[in-house]
Every structure is written in C-alpha cells, then in structure tokens.
C-alpha cells in the first residue's frame, strides 16, 4: 500500500516569553500513514499533536523536516485539493449561517452550482444539522459547531481527512454517531488521521497508532501488536460473603453494604472463588475479565517517558 502522508524528522520550536527563549516542541517526528487506514495520533495534553497537524497543513512552518501528502509537497495546491481538516476547537465565521458557511468553503474548491448544493445538503444530513442551515453560527452549541466543522472538512470529498479531537464537546450519543461516521468514511475508502488524548473512543476504530510523548513518537504500529489479548485481572462483584472469607483470593476494591468488589489476579483463584460462592449460597453479580487496553500502555509509557 502506498503512503498518503509521510512525515520525516519534523522539528519545531516556539519562542516564548518577553525575552524570547526557544522551546523545542517537536523533536524529530517521523511516521507515515497508509491509504485507507484510520491512523490514531495519540498522546497526552501538550505532547505536540496539534503542532504536528499545523505543520502538516501549512499553518506554521517547521524548522526542519519533510512532509509529503500524496507524494506532493504539503504546501502544494494538489495536496490541499485532496485533504480535509477539522481543527481542535472549531472556530468559524459566526456571522454566517450553517448553509452560507458550507457554501463559502465549497466555492474555494470551485464546485459547480448543482454539485455544490447537492454536497451541502447531504453533508448537513450526514452530521444531523439539516435544521440549522439557516441559523447563524453564533447561535450554535459547542457540539453543533463540532458537527458543522466536520461537514466543512468533508466539503471536497477528500481522500485524506485530518481530525483533531473530533469527539471533543460531543455527548455520548454524539460520540457514537461520530464514530460511526468515521467508520463509514473509511468504508468509502478514505484515509483518516485522528488526533486524540481520549483513548476509549479511539482504540476501537484505529488500525494503526503512533504514540507521542513530549514531542517524540515513542511507539507506533498496528493496534493488535501494541495491545496484547492477555487478561490482566478479573473484576468480580458478589454478595453474601464476608471480607474474611475472601482472604487470599483477591484484592478487595470497594464494598457497598453487602456487595463487595474485588480484583482477582490468578485464574485458579477464580475457580476457588466460584466454588466458595456456591458452597456458601452467596451470589455473583458480575465477573468481568479485563484485558490490556491502550490506556494501560499509554499510562505506562507516559510514566516511563
């Protein structure tokens, strides 16, 4: 598969303070994104995710390094014709209505009148804002802005979409809808570049990830390779037993009245626990095995980094 985005040895520093002092934010970043995948660019707050994106989109100029999009320079119009971008917190022209806003961006791609209207209508439907077409953006809620921002990013039917914290400001239902949209975009053959520090939502849908800490990519690869299927421990909630009965079987986490929740680390301990419950006519309310998640890896790496 061909790389649609190639970033090599990217460096960027900002001058800060009254007496300007250089602070290096990106310390030599390299990665590449393959056609058709959802690429997660993950890292804690302040790691430099947004800064990397700004370099890629030509908003700021890196001190050093190469960026190629579809084999063109990232600053070329050929590259920009084929990409879409949703910024971190969407900032838009608040004096425009939803419809005018999309119309404006459509014009920048020189879309024909019919094609333009068609595109705008289907995008408003996609992001669930049909009824906000005549509402000024200043009257939009945070989540609505996020949605219109996504519509704007897709106005040219891009092959590569950059999304910076796309789930920010959305309610749980909104998050699910957005995740579905992203998966749908992938099915249509688009490549998605996803920046985020929220992991639960992302890890289910990413094909590959790069993890960024302190301006360096400290790990990258397929998600399966990073996250093992190994069961870390099992969370058991039960009632009808006293804490003293459970000694040696697991590590109690909390108790509410009769209910006790504990972490059980060895498999044979679970069997002994289940036998004990049957024996004493107690009850098990839940039994959840916890596998390693991206979050665990993440926390571990950040701690080491």
């Amino acid at each position: 598969m061909a790389a649609v985005l190639k970033v090599e040895n990217l460096h960027k520093s900002f001058k800060v303070g009254f007496i300007p002092k250089k602070r290096e934010i990106l310390k030599g970043i390299s990665f590449s994104v393959e056609a058709g995948e959802i690429f997660g660019y993950l890292g804690p707050n302040g790691a430099g995710k947004t800064t990397t994106l700004k370099c890629t989109l030509g908003l700021i100029f890196p001190d050093q390094g190469q960026i190629e999009i579809f084999g063109h320079s990232h600053l070329s119009l050929e590259a920009k014709e084929r990409i879409g971008y949703l910024p971190e917190s969407p900032y838009f022209y608040e004096y425009l209505t939803g419809g005018e806003f999309l119309d404006f961006y459509a014009r920048l791609f020189l879309l024909g009148k019919k094609e333009k209207e068609e595109r705008i209508r289907s995008l408003l439907r996609l992001v669930g804002l049909e009824r906000a077409a005549r509402l000024q953006l200043r009257k939009f809620s945070r989540g609505m802005l996020q949605r219109i921002g996504l519509a704007q990013a897709l106005i040219n039917d891009p092959e590569l979409v950059f999304l910076d914290e796309p789930l920010g400001g959305l309610d749980p239902l909104g998050r699910k809808e957005l995740r579905d949209i992203i998966i749908r975009l992938k099915r249509e053959g688009k490549t998605i570049f996803l920046c985020s520090h929220i992991l639960q939502d992302i890890e289910m849908i990413c094909d590959r990830v790069a993890i960024l800490v302190g301006g360096r990519v400290i790990s990258q690869g397929a998600l399966e390779a990073l996250v093992s299927e190994k069961i870390l421990y099992t969370e058991v909630t039960l009632s009808g037993l006293s804490e003293s009965d459970l000694e040696g079987l697991g590590e109690p986490v909390s108790s509410h009245g009769d209910r006790i929740m504990l972490k059980v680390f060895q498999e044979d301990n679970i069997e002994r626990l289940v036998a004990l419950v049957q024996d004493k006519k107690a009850r098990i309310h839940s039994l959840v095995p916890r596998t390693e998640t991206l979050e665990d890896i993440f926390v571990e790496m950040v701690r080491q980094g």
Partner: protein, 254 residues
Amino acid sequence: MKIKAIALNTFKEAIRDRILYLLFFFAAVSVIFSRVLAVLTVGDRVKIVKDVGLASISLFGVLMAVMIGTGLVYKEIDKKTIYTLISKPIRRFEFLLGKFFGLVLTLLIMTSLMSLIFLLTVFFHTFKIEAGLLLAVLFIFIELILITAVAILFSCFSTPILSSLFSLSFFLIGHFSWSLETLIQKTKSAPLKLFIQALYALLPDLENFNFKTEVVYGLTVLPKYYLFSALYGLAYTAFILTLAVLIFKRRDFV
C-alpha cells in the same frame, strides 16, 4: 474565483458589522448638518455645503477603511478561522487579496451612498444635480483604496489598535508631506536637501488625490494631472499590498 469567494465573504462580514452603520450614520448627519452650518455663516453658502460634504465623505470613508481594515486579517488569526481556510487549496496571497477586494467593495457601496446623500443635500440648495462633484469623490475613493491596503498591511503583524494608530498616522503624514516640497526649496545645505528629497519620495503624498478645491471652485485641471494621480494611487497600493503579501507569506498562525 477563489479570491472572489473570499472577497464576498469579507463583504458579508463587513456589512454585518455594526461599526459600519455607526460611521455611515455620522457621515450622513455631518453632510446634512453642513446646511445648518451654511445658514449660520457668512460667505458663499453653497461652497460651504460642498466643502463640508466632501470632507465628511473623505473623513468617514477613511475611518471605515481603518476601523474595519485593521481588524480583518487580525480577527481571522485571533479567532483562528484562518486555520480551516489555509488548509483549503488557496494561496496566502489570494487570501489577502480577497480580504482587500472585499473591503474595497464595501467602501465602494458606502461611498456611493454617502455621495448620494451629498448630491441630494447640494440639490436642495441649488436645485441642480452637480455630477461634477463626483470627480472629487472618485479621487477620495482612490485614496480610500490605498488606505485600505495600508490598514491590511499593518493588520498582518499587529493588533487592531496599533494598526489603527499606524494607519491614521499614514493618513496624516500623507496629507502634510507636501510641505516638505517647500522645505526642499528653502534648504541651502545640499546633503540636507538630498535627505529631505529622499524622505519626500518615500512618504506618501495623499494631497495628490485632493481635487476638492478645484472641483468646488470649478477650476480647470489638465487631464494629465488626473491621470498621474490615479496611476500614483494604483502604484502605491500595489507596492503596499506586495509588502503585506511578503510579510503574510512567512507568518506562523498560532
């Protein structure tokens, strides 16, 4: 085409800005008020109406150009709306030119409206439609175009308040720089003369666009002077816009 889209969007932004209507209101009041002033003073009343009217169009036009122009680019960067724009297939100079033409279009409409009120006021005084006055307005408008470019240049790298100060200074200096000409004639020392000459060449001379007296008093002006003034305005505007593009091209948008 892309420049046109940005220009139209800028136009929409400008005409949805309240400051524009406030300035327009004051301009209209001041044009109409010139009649009251004319009644109160001795001398040629018609001339006072014309003088005050043209001066108001010029002054409020400049205020519109400066107050809106200095915010245009700054606001895009400050409110980060420029992020999505720059990621689209447009070049940075297209963005800047779009902003420029959008504001020029706004000023064209505002100047036309102010002229209309002005001509009506004169009409109620003389019962003649004096279209000749529009020649003076045309050159006021050319000056506004230049001031717009200057406002946009400053707003590429500084805050609206500072840019407004700079732009208004440009306007004031531009209207007094002709006095350097007399200074050159009076200076004896050669190096000093050369220095003042260089300064004069560098500074704008906005009196080139001032045909108010000629038009109000019906003096004849050779066409070549009109032509020279128009070309001077265009060349200076192109120079300022080029500077703005050069600065804007290298900027980080953070």
